[in-house]
Every structure is written in structure tokens, then in C-alpha cells.
């Protein structure tokens, strides 16, 4: 089949470009430890409130100095709606929904994950700055969707709880 010279060069350049892009993205995983959510547990959405750890949403400090933050999503609020953590804290978020699909985005961090009834979403995040980070529901979940916001208060070590 006839492929003209310039077209062949062009297609080679595109292939090289794609190769570089793939390489850069592999580096975000291997060097920068960016990660996507992957399957953990399943849970019956109607029994969430009586299933550990979702029977007691909130913050727990783990033995290794990290924090586990358990959050229940429901239309149209996060439970708990406010979480306070010390600056530099690494938090393992465990989130599920009791009703419809929700989504969580914390701007200025890599937290971006769907919260789907029947599935447990796990995300690890380190908060680098002492400030308030918004927790935003970014999937339409009914008429009050835009009211579904929460806050991570990240505070200096002295004033931590």
C-alpha cells in the first residue's frame, strides 16, 4: 500500500511521541508512586451502618503513625463532614456509599475516586500543607448534589487533636 514519504515520517514521529508519553506515565507510577483505586472489599449498601469499619466513621491513628479515615457517603452529605489531621499526615481513606453513586475529589491532592454502592473505595493521601482542603462530591447524586461538600482541616502539629 502506498504510504508517502512525509506521511511515513509523520507516523514515526507520532509513534515516538506516544512512546515518550507512555514512558512518562509509567514514571508517575514507579517514581512518584501515583496510584489508581483498585478493588478492595465489597459491602452491602443497606448494611453499611452496621458493617465495620463503617459502623464508626471517623479518624483512627494506626500503629505506623498513619491515619485511617472512614467516610460514609450518602445523599447529600459526607459522614463525617469534617476531618482534622496534622500537617504531613498520611491518611488511608476508606469510603463507601449507602445509596447512589458519589465521587470524591480533594483539589490540590491526587484524591479523585468514584464511590459506588456495593464497593469500598480506598485511597491514600498525604496532606502537605496546613490549610483546609475541600472534599467535593463530583458525581451527580440527585437534586442536592451541589450541597455535598466536606472539609479536611489540616493543622500544625501543636494544635492537632
Amino acid at each position: 500500500m502506498k504510504v508517502e514519504r512525509y506521511e511515513r515520517y509523520f507516523l514515526i514521529v507520532v509513534a515516538v511521541f506516544l512512546g515518550l508519553a507512555i514512558g512518562a506515565l509509567v514514571a508517575t507510577v514507579t517514581q512518584d508512586h501515583a496510584s489508581l483505586p483498585e478493588p478492595s472489599d465489597r459491602v452491602d449498601p443497606q448494611l453499611v451502618r452496621s458493617t465495620p469499619p463503617f459502623d464508626a466513621p471517623g479518624v483512627r491513628e494506626l500503629d505506623n503513625g498513619e491515619y485511617e479515615v472512614v467516610i460514609v457517603a450518602q445523599a447529600w452529605q459526607w459522614d463525617p463532614v469534617e476531618v482534622t489531621l496534622p500537617v504531613g499526615a498520611t491518611a488511608n481513606l476508606r469510603v463507601t456509599s449507602v445509596d447512589v453513586v458519589h465521587g470524591m475529589r480533594v483539589p490540590d491532592t491526587n484524591v479523585n475516586a468514584m464511590v459506588i454502592p456495593g464497593q469500598v473505595t480506598e485511597v491514600t493521601v498525604t496532606f502537605d500543607e496546613a490549610k483546609d482542603y475541600s472534599l467535593i462530591c463530583h458525581e451527580y447524586c440527585g437534586i442536592g448534589h451541589h450541597n455535598m461538600g466536606g472539609v479536611f482541616h489540616i493543622v500544625d502539629e501543636e494544635s492537632a487533636p
Partner: protein
């Protein structure tokens, strides 16, 4: 001269068309497709008009959304509508399903008829497709306007719409299946009349591959709706699995964007070069580009990088396959640019860039499609960002995505459809295009609008603005002062787009209701090819081979997803939270 008046038939009650002889006239379809009659053209025309109704409704809703971004909630005053999200559902359904599907239902059979030089094989199938499209649109529109289906056009379970909504969506999809079936039957008739081994004319080939791609792609949503969501909405099934139905949705939900785009690709490859006085370079690479979209169906998981229920193996595999799609897109960029450059140089353009200015920008159809292509370069580049595995974490479900697809489907596709309409409506009606100057201005207004709009959406998205959210009333809006300017840009850009849209409808109605008829010979502009089918591989024409490869690849790739996901986790009853 006099033109035969097309009967103003209502789509639900077609007038019995006498088995008439082909009408002889000097213009339009009457001269460039042998043996066609007004009855063959009626489904084309009424699918096109339904498509415009979808566009009109969508644009109207877009205006309300632009006002919302400016802090003015007009939903309380608007008739019928109650909420932002109801309007947003209508916006999505009218544009993503009705506008695009019905346009494909109109253009693809028409170009197939032109390519194969014969009418569609079955008028009954064409008319069935037409009725299904109108009835389906009617059902879905009723469900949405009655506020019984405020589930957005993605209708993620367990939000549960009224059954009429799902039935309407099914009818719209089945109407596209009818179109495809009819095109295949027409191809079979054509093959019988040709010597063995005759190459399928390029334009008909491109249309057929596009429709076959979509039929395979739509099986995901068909299974989701027919087996799970519709019975569940009717009360015959108690529970569905929200994660699994999302997997099925996105099996279709990615290639649906190819289905929006491919009719435009057909125009860019097979018509636009002739409209600018150039030639398409390679028949073979064109066929290969269309086949790539058919084969690279199973990439939907790249819309679900952040879903908890899908393993990293599936996400990685489909990420790489998605990058493969970039290849046919770049082939397209090269081929279309080469054809345009050739056309511009024939018109006296000199040097590296001089040909650009010699292109017929004064031709409304060319102008709109050139601007559409310009937007598509940015749209395609931002698509690569969305598909980029970990980088997707920055933009997933933010307004960045909205900016992206208003450059692609919202401009590359929509503005091209407007441009195509500028020859298609005169071609079908025999009426002269009304106010060509306004038609040129219209495309510029839309384009300038979308540049501002998309810049605002993308800027906001990177800073965390969520998509599909009544933003100005959001609990957290005030906590993000940085969102103010991007949101305002979105509002202003959207309003400018609306003005561009209104101008399109002025031209459209002006043309349809014009008294001035076309007198000169008028044909579908089909391009010549520099390196014709004789130089391209024969196997490219073997539709069965490529469909088989696409099916096998889809089964393997999605088999991997489902094998990891199994068993299905049906835990969710329906919710109506609006």
C-alpha cells in the same frame, strides 16, 4: 423552472407514496443518485429535522446552564423545567443521543446511496427506523420534562428513571440498527450487480464501517438497559449492580464518541477535499483509519480509571489500547491537512502557510468544517490528557472533561454538522441557502464562544471544579475564590455559543421556508483520490474479517474485566433523588 414540492408529511403518517418513477429535475438528489424517489429521501429528511430539534433543545438548555454559571438560576421561571439537573438531563439526551444519532441516520444512508449509486434496499426498514427515532425521542422527552427521569444522560444506577426513559433510549439505538441493516442490505444488492472483486466505493465503505462499529459498540448499553435497568425500573427486578452496569455503560460509552465523530470523519475525508478543490491522498490509509475505530472498540475502562471495582490490569491494558486510538486520529490529521493544503495550493496559495488563506473560507459549509477541525486539534490533545492513566486523576469528573468534549462533540461534531447542513438542506429541499454571510458569521461566533467556554471549563477543572454540578449554589463554591474567573468565562463563552446557535437556526429556517430555489446543478461533493483503491490492500474491504477481529478483541479485553469482577454484586434498589 419548477421544483416538485416535497410533501410536508408528518413522520407518523407518511402519505402513501405511489410507486413513482424517478423524478426528473435539474438539481439535488434527483440527478446524482439513479432511481431514487421522494419516498427514499423522506426518511433522510425527517431524520435530519429530528436531529435539528435535538440540537435546538440542547442549545436552549445550554443557555440556561450558562446563566447558572453567571449566578442566575432561571429554572424557577422557565416553563415546564423545574431544576438545573432536569435541564442538564435534557441537554445531554437531546444532544448526545437525538442530535447525533439522527444525523447519522440521515447522512450515512444518503452517502451510501450516493456511493453505491442506488436507493436504500428497503423503504420499510428506513421508515421503521424513522418512526422509532421520533417515538423514542418523544418518550424520552416526555419522561424528562415530566421530571420522571432526572438521571442525566449517563443514567447511572441506582438512580432510577421511569420506564419510558429507558424505552425511548432503546428506540433511538434500535433506529440506528435499522439504518445499519438497511445499508448492509443495500451493499448486498450492489454486490450482486458488480463483477466479483469490485472495490466498495470509499464513501460507502466509510459509512458502513462506522455503522458496524456502532452496532457492535451498542451491545453494552443494550444489555445494560434491556436485561438490568428496564426490568428493574418496571419492578420486575429488585436489585442491580451499580459497578457492573457502569462497566457495560462504558463499553458503549467510549465508542459512542466514535459514532458521534465518524459521520464527520466521512465528511472530512470524502467530501471536504472536493469542497476546497483538493484531492484525498490515499484510499488505503483512509480505509485503514476507519477500520482502526472498528477494531479498537474495547477501551471504555479509561473512563473508569477511578472506579473501585476494576483491577489495575484492566486499567493498564485499556489505557494502552486507548493510546492506540491516537494513531488513526493522527492519520486523519495528516490526510485531511494534506488534502486541504493541496486544495489551497491549487487555488494559488504559496509557501508553508499561504495555502491556508486561499481556502474558500467564504463558503459557509467549508468555513464551519475548517473551524470545527481547528477545535478538534485542541479537543484531541485534551483527550490524550484524559486518557493518560495517572494524569486522569487531576481531571476525572471535573469540568476539564466538559471543556474537552465541547471542543470535540460540541464543536468538531456540532459545527461540522452545521457546515454539512449548509449544502445538505439545499440539496434535500431544493431551496437556496438563506443568508450565506450569516452562515459564515455563525460558525465564527460559535467557535469564538467555545474557545472561551472550553478555556473556562478546563481552567476550572484543573483547580477542582466538579462537572455536572449546580456550581454557583454549591456549598463549597465560596471556599474557592480562584474558581470565579473560569466560571465567568464558561458563562460568557456559553452565551456566545448560544448566539451562534440561534444564527444557525435563522439560516436553517430561512432556507427551509425560502421561496428561492436552487437552479444550478447541485451534487453531493465527493472527492477524488490520488492513490485509489487499486493501490490499497484488498483485505481492507473484507468487512466480515474486521468485524470478527473486533468481536474477538472485545471478548478478550472485556472478558478480562469481567473475569476479575465476577460475581455480579446486585445490591442496589432504585433511588429517585430529585
Amino acid at each position: 423552472m419548477t421544483l416538485l414540492e416535497d410533501p410536508p408529511a408528518s413522520p407518523s403518517e407518511p402519505e402513501p407514496e405511489p410507486e413513482s418513477e424517478p423524478v426528473k429535475s435539474a438539481t439535488g438528489w434527483r440527478v446524482d443518485i439513479p432511481d431514487v424517489t421522494a419516498a427514499d429521501m423522506r426518511p433522510v429528511k425527517w431524520q435530519l429535522y429530528l436531529s435539528f430539534i435535538g440540537l435546538g433543545l440542547g442549545i436552549l438548555m445550554g443557555l440556561l446552564q450558562a446563566f447558572e454559571r453567571n449566578g442566575q438560576n432561571l429554572y424557577d421561571e422557565a416553563p415546564v423545567l423545574q431544576t438545573y439537573y432536569q435541564g442538564l438531563t435534557l441537554h445531554g439526551v437531546a444532544l448526545a443521543l437525538v442530535f447525533t444519532f439522527c444525523f447519522a441516520n440521515a447522512l450515512m444512508p444518503l452517502l451510501t446511496m450516493r456511493g453505491l449509486q442506488r436507493p436504500m434496499a428497503s423503504r420499510a426498514i428506513a421508515n421503521t427506523g424513522l418512526y422509532l427515532a421520533w417515538i423514542g425521542t418523544g418518550l424520552a422527552a416526555w419522561a424528562i420534562l415530566a421530571n420522571k427521569a432526572t438521571v442525566l444522560f449517563t443514567f447511572y444506577a441506582p438512580l432510577q428513571a421511569t420506564p419510558a426513559f429507558y424505552v425511548g433510549a432503546v428506540f433511538l439505538v434500535v433506529s440506528t440498527w435499522m439504518t445499519t441493516l438497511n445499508m448492509l442490505l443495500t451493499l448486498r444488492q450492489w454486490r450482486r450487480d458488480q463483477p466479483r472483486g469490485t472495490r466498495i466505493p470509499l464513501v460507502a465503505f466509510a459509512c458502513l464501517v462506522s455503522m458496524l462499529m456502532w452496532v457492535l459498540a451498542s451491545t453494552g448499553i443494550a444489555a445494560e438497559v434491556l436485561y438490568w435497568l428496564l426490568p428493574w425500573s418496571l419492578g420486575w427486578r429488585d436489585m442491580v449492580d451499580p459497578q457492573f452496569t457502569r462497566i457495560l455503560f462504558w463499553f458503549t460509552g467510549h465508542p459512542i464518541v466514535y459514532f458521534w465523530l465518524l459521520p464527520i470523519y466521512v465528511s472530512w475525508y470524502c467530501l471536504l477535499p472536493s469542497q476546497v478543490g483538493g484531492k484525498l491522498y490515499s484510499d488505503g490509509l483512509t480505509r485503514l483509519a476507519f477500520i482502526s475505530f472498528l477494531v479498537l472498540l474495547p477501551v471504555g475502562v479509561h473512563h473508569q480509571f477511578t472506579d473501585p471495582g476494576i483491577p489495575l490490569s484492566s486499567k493498564t491494558l485499556q489505557w494502552l489500547l486507548t493510546f492506540g486510538i491516537f494513531y488513526p486520529s493522527m492519520i486523519t490529521a495528516f490526510s485531511v491537512f494534506a488534502a486541504l493544503e493541496q486544495g489551497g495550493k491549487k487555488r494559488g496559495g504559496k509557501g508553508w502557510f499561504g495555502w491556508i488563506f486561499k481556502l474558500p473560507w467564504h463558503d459557509p459549509s467549508v468555513n464551519a468544517q475548517l473551524l470545527a477541525g481547528l477545535a478538534f486539534m485542541l479537543g484531541g490533545a485534551s483527550g490524550l490528557i484524559n486518557a493518560s492513566y495517572t494524569v486522569n486523576l487531576v481531571v476525572h469528573n471535573t469540568s476539564f472533561i466538559v471543556g474537552h468534549f465541547h471542543l470535540t462533540v460540541g464543536t468538531a461534531v456540532a459545527l461540522s454538522i452545521m457546515g454539512i447542513s449548509y449544502w445538505l438542506v439545499p440539496y434535500l429541499t431544493g431551496k437556496r441557502l438563506f443568508a450565506p454571510g450569516l452562515a459564515v458569521a455563525q460558525a465564527w461566533i460559535w467557535w469564538i464562544g467555545v474557545m472561551i467556554f472550553a478555556r473556562g471549563q478546563m481552567w476550572g477543572g484543573v483547580d477542582g471544579v466538579p462537572r455536572r454540578t449546580q456550581l454557583r449554589d454549591a456549598a463549597y463554591y465560596a471556599d474557592h475564590p480562584g474558581w470565579h474567573w473560569p466560571t465567568l468565562m464558561t458563562a460568557i463563552g456559553g452565551m456566545i455559543m448560544f448566539i451562534g446557535g440561534v444564527c444557525f437556526f435563522v439560516v436553517l429556517f430561512g432556507t427551509i421556508f425560502s421561496k428561492r430555489v436552487v437552479t444550478e446543478r447541485q451534487e453531493i461533493p465527493i472527492t477524488d483520490v490520488e492513490h485509489g483503491p487499486k493501490e490499497s490492500w484488498r483485505v481492507l474491504d473484507s468487512l466480515g474479517t474486521w468485524v470478527t477481529i473486533a468481536v474477538v478483541l472485545s471478548i478478550l479485553v472485556y472478558g478480562e474485566v469481567i473475569a476479575h469482577y465476577w460475581p455480579i454484586n446486585s445490591v442496589s434498589p432504585g433511588f429517585r433523588l430529585w
